[in-house]
Symmetry: C2
Subunit: 238 residues, 2 copies
């Protein structure tokens, strides 16, 4: 029994780690040798809902790659208000900016729900990036996408009001075509308020404003988009 456990703890999990790493934006299709090494040096971590992953200002000893669930990256104001930067889902890396620049984490992160991630120690990651240009290219793509996202968040916060931001957010959740459809917010409205940069009360008013205009109707987390054109107009000029 003793021996069997050894094998299970030391070996089976590692093979399994390789297979989950392969389903990751950063590492899929990567040379098996590299995956093996990552698996050997990385660790699988489990988080329950609301559990902290790391805190802003902490030294970054490694990064996480989400396997299951969602991890919210956010900033806190002294008064306790929160601004969500981004919610990361399966396949996405969290904390890689801090690891790359060698500085402390620039924001905090916590699990939104039961989640799993691979933890990769700083040096293991840096070794891989330096040795494997393909990983560097994927990272560049990931960081570029994030910069784009941040730039548009900055634009929203600075130049658009809450209803416009909400309308734009709903449109980004909506599928391309249909004028009328039902979208799932995937988070509570309180969490949504932190993502669009406001408080629950104001978000609620923005929703009822859009509802009064006839653009949407809400039932809990489900939002019925009644008139996409109207919603598009609410997101823009005004």
């Amino acid at each position: 029994m003793e021996g069997l456990h050894e094998i299970h703890r030391g070996h089976r999990p590692r093979l399994e780690l390789v297979s989950v790493l392969q389903r990751t934006d950063l590492f899929e299709g990567l040379d098996h040798r590299h995956l093996e090494e990552l698996a050997a040096r990385g660790r699988r971590k489990h988080f329950v809902a609301e559990q902290a992953v790391f805190f802003e200002g902490e030294r970054a000893e490694g990064l996480y790659v989400v396997l299951r669930g969602r991890i919210k990256v956010f900033k806190l104001s002294p008064k306790g208000r929160e601004q969500t930067l981004k919610i990361m889902g399966p396949g996405e890396p969290v904390g890689e900016v801090a690891v790359l620049s060698g500085e402390p984490y620039p924001a905090s992160a916590e699990a939104l729900e039961t989640s799993e991630a691979v933890y990769i120690p700083r040096q293991a990651f840096l070794d891989l990036v330096a040795r494997e240009p393909e990983v560097a290219m994927r990272l560049l793509a990931a960081l570029s996408a994030r910069l784009r996202f941040f730039a548009s968040l900055i634009e929203d916060l600075s130049l658009r009001d809450v209803s416009q931001r909400l309308a734009a957010h709903l449109l980004s959740l909506a599928s391309a075509g249909d004028s009328e459809q039902i979208v799932d917010l995937e988070v509570t409205k309180t969490q949504l308020s932190a993502a669009v940069g406001t408080v629950p009360e104001t978000l609620s008013r923005a929703f009822s404003q859009l509802a009064r205009a006839g653009a949407v109707e809400t039932q809990g987390r489900r939002v019925h988009i009644k008139d996409r054109t109207l919603l598009e107009r609410a997101a823009q000029v005004k």
Copy 2:
């Protein structure tokens, strides 16, 4: 004469380009062969104050590396208000995110003053990044730094008021040590207002508020920091 001109246009400038590329964050210390190729495929461009470099939404055919002067990257609201994302100085790349992701420029850019840049066509850059891991690493460092900057801009816009943002901005311009010192804004106050995410009127009031508190005194673009501790307090909790 004809021949001389040929040489001057076709060759001298290229040698010169190599030498300026060497003074660039992204390319310094790079293999001479690569620099030659960049120089062959790139072009030097000159901008006068307020001249557009590119517009948001335009297809990104290449990127720029600032040699001299400053280039402002910004977003415009439908109503004409502007949010500065970042002002880029000598050595820094502009537009590389669009080139990397193959999507349109996510923001507009224009010269703040007489400026010079190297224009590098998309494919020349991608070739180099793919072939030269060192360039990819530098890019990762640059993008990481920018993400960090953006994250803190998002935090500021969402969670702090204008005086706090102004105080923080002044502190970032100030040198580390001294409690009392004079800093140069390096831009007009109107431009500063776009950088901290407000309008000139509000910025002006924020300045007089800080002045009333005894933290600073302003004389045009020169700001006399009279009490750094006071300024730090104004930047924070409040």
